[in-house]
């Protein structure tokens, strides 16, 4: 096996293998979203019950898989010199990134699937425009992956761990996911609405709503996420260091 696609596939398998047996990563990508579905779907903490909770938890799944988990894993690969060694093998940078992208996508998809099935078990009835929801979720994945790689490629591994977890918690609590920006004071709500987490949560909420009321919000979500994705990708491309 030595074609470019075969190497990328081998690296996808390698990333998945390491990721799926790492306790901290599993906690982030699966356990926390499951606990949140149960907590938010069966309580009145989020108005709207399980229907309102699922888009928010899906946002958290994407944030956990594509940002926090990816950043931490890549940061520690840099520190261990593993990426430096791989750069001397036939694995090209494109193979490595493709492998990481597929592994991250597969894990995030699994997390989204688990959250969705659990939501259905709790009474969530998926509706709305699915292609739009998938498109927005994909854009969210790209956005958070770009920022995760930027973080992992610029800071020390320990700092990546601290910042990635800190940002994860901060965005869940104050980034427009759990608390809708419209429920916050005007000025604060306006600022938070421009965070990628808020844009993704709002976009998924609108896309999965059987009676969408705010098409402008959907467009705004797409624009905000695209801006963050492009900025993150440019920064990652410019500042990412492999060792």
């Amino acid at each position: 096996m030595s074609t470019s696609w075969a190497r990328a596939r081998a690296h996808t398998g390698w990333e998945l293998r390491l990721l799926l047996r790492n306790g901290e990563q599993l906690l982030l990508v699966f356990i926390i979203p499951i606990v949140l579905v149960l907590a938010l779907g069966r309580t009145t903490f989020v108005p709207g019950g399980v229907d309102a909770a699922i888009p928010k938890v899906l946002t958290i799944s994407i944030l956990a898989g594509c940002f926090t988990s990816l950043a931490i894993a890549t940061g520690f690969e840099r520190r261990s010199g593993a990426l430096r060694f791989l750069a001397t093998t036939p694995l090209t940078r494109a193979n490595l990134l493709t492998g990481k992208a597929f592994a991250t996508a597969i894990v995030t998809l699994l997390s989204v699937l688990v959250v969705s099935l659990l939501g259905i078990a709790l009474g969530w009835r998926p509706a709305g425009t699915w292609p739009v929801a998938i498109g927005i979720a994909f854009l969210g994945c790209l956005t958070f992956a770009a920022w995760g790689l930027f973080l992992a490629g610029t800071l020390r591994a320990e700092a990546v761990l601290a910042v990635a977890n800190g940002v994860f918690l901060a965005l869940i609590l104050f980034g427009g996911i759990i608390i809708d920006p419209t429920q916050l004071p005007d000025a604060l709500g306006t600022v938070i609405a421009f965070l990628p987490s808020a844009a993704l949560a709002q976009g998924l909420t609108q896309a999965l709503d059987p009676n969408p009321t705010d098409a402008a919000q959907l467009l705004k979500s797409v624009l905000v996420l695209t801006t963050w994705a492009v900025t993150g990708a440019l920064l990652a491309r410019r500042f990412f260091r492999w060792e």
């Binding site: 047996r21 010199g81 593993a82 001397t88 093998t89 694995l91």
Partner: protein, 312 residues
């Protein structure tokens, strides 16, 4: 003419205003074991990084099997063992090598390779829990996995116990005999004398000495011995007669420059007996690589100081 495995011409590497490598040129042929030696900061790692495609040269030209080192074609034909890092801490040795094997067109069998290097292929221990010596052996296995035509080894014997070190040196000698070119970067100069064909001495980014090991350590018409530090050099020189210079090039290491003759050896031992000095490691007709590196380092430092004084 056969294309050399590695061809380096007038290589320069600078980091900002710091010059790491300054105009180094050399070639490595198939089956040749070449050692890259020198003090810390000599430019060895930078040179190897450019040759393995990890870093771009500031100027100069490097060809790996006739092409740029970053090209995929070259990377399938080399094996690299890094001094620091290069393992996934949470991976088990066999799964790491099995994954790497999928990247190469004709890899060695990972289980056999690990077994040959004394690592149990079935071990469930992750690499971060292996001892330093075991980690070295897993890294070596990863370097040998592609059945490389050119092997880059950075301090391969670091952390190995004496028996494992001898095994490794024997294995490298066999690889060289089978046609694998080897670039060995190390501070273990005794290992270099044992297995290397050629040696490149880098100091301050400059190639200050190079050539076959036997020529380098045999050159200069010198004899050395070890004894208590601080012997009276004038008295010793007087006992040896004219035509000989004596210096203590390292504490307790005496280097006598001049023709090596049976009479010289007799004069040294006679003087030591008369002075009540126990001489050890008398080495006739040559210097050690350590002598050469130490001397080259001092010369380079002296030259830098003269240049700095001239600039100011």
């Amino acid at each position: 003419m056969t294309t050399p495995a590695l061809w380096v011409s007038d290589l320069w590497v600078t980091y900002g205003t710091t010059r790491a490598v300054a105009g180094v040129s050399f070639t490595v042929a198939a089956g040749q074991i070449t050692a890259l030696v020198g003090p810390n900061g000599a430019g060895k790692t930078s040179t190897v990084e450019v040759c393995t495609g990890l870093r771009c040269a500031t100027s100069g030209k490097v060809e790996l099997f006739g092409g740029p080192p970053r090209k995929l074609a070259g990377r399938t034909r080399i094996g690299v063992m890094l001094q620091i890092g290069g393992l996934y801490p949470t991976a088990r040795p066999l799964e790491w090598l099995t994954y790497l094997a999928k990247l190469y067109p004709d890899p060695a069998d990972p289980s056999t390779l690990l077994s040959n290097l004394g690592i149990d292929p079935k071990t469930s221990v992750t690499t971060r829990r292996l001892s330093g010596g075991e980690q070295q052996r897993v890294k070596l296995a990863a370097a040998l996995l592609p059945k490389p035509e050119l092997l880059f080894l950075d301090e391969p014997t670091a952390g190995l116990d004496p028996a494992a070190r001898l095994d490794l040196l024997g294995a490298l000698r066999r690889l060289g005999a089978e046609g694998t070119g080897i670039i060995l970067t190390t501070h273990a100069l005794g290992d270099v004398e044992e297995i290397a064909d050629d040696v490149l001495v880098l100091v301050g980014g400059h190639l200050v000495a190079s050539g076959p090991v036997v020529d380098l350590i045999g050159a200069g018409g010198s004899t050395s011995f070890r004894a208590t530090a601080g012997l009276e050099l004038g008295a010793l020189a007087g006992a040896l007669g004219s035509g000989y210079q004596v210096q203590e090039n390292r504490p307790g290491n005496y280097l006598i420059t001049g023709p090596t003759t049976p009479q010289l050896l007799a004069d040294i031992t006679n003087w030591c007996a008369a002075a009540g000095v126990q001489a050890t490691e008398i080495r006739a007709g040559g210097r050690t690589l350590e002598d050469i590196v130490v001397e080259a380092t001092r010369n380079e430092i002296a030259a830098s100081e003269i240049a700095e004084a001239a600039d100011s």
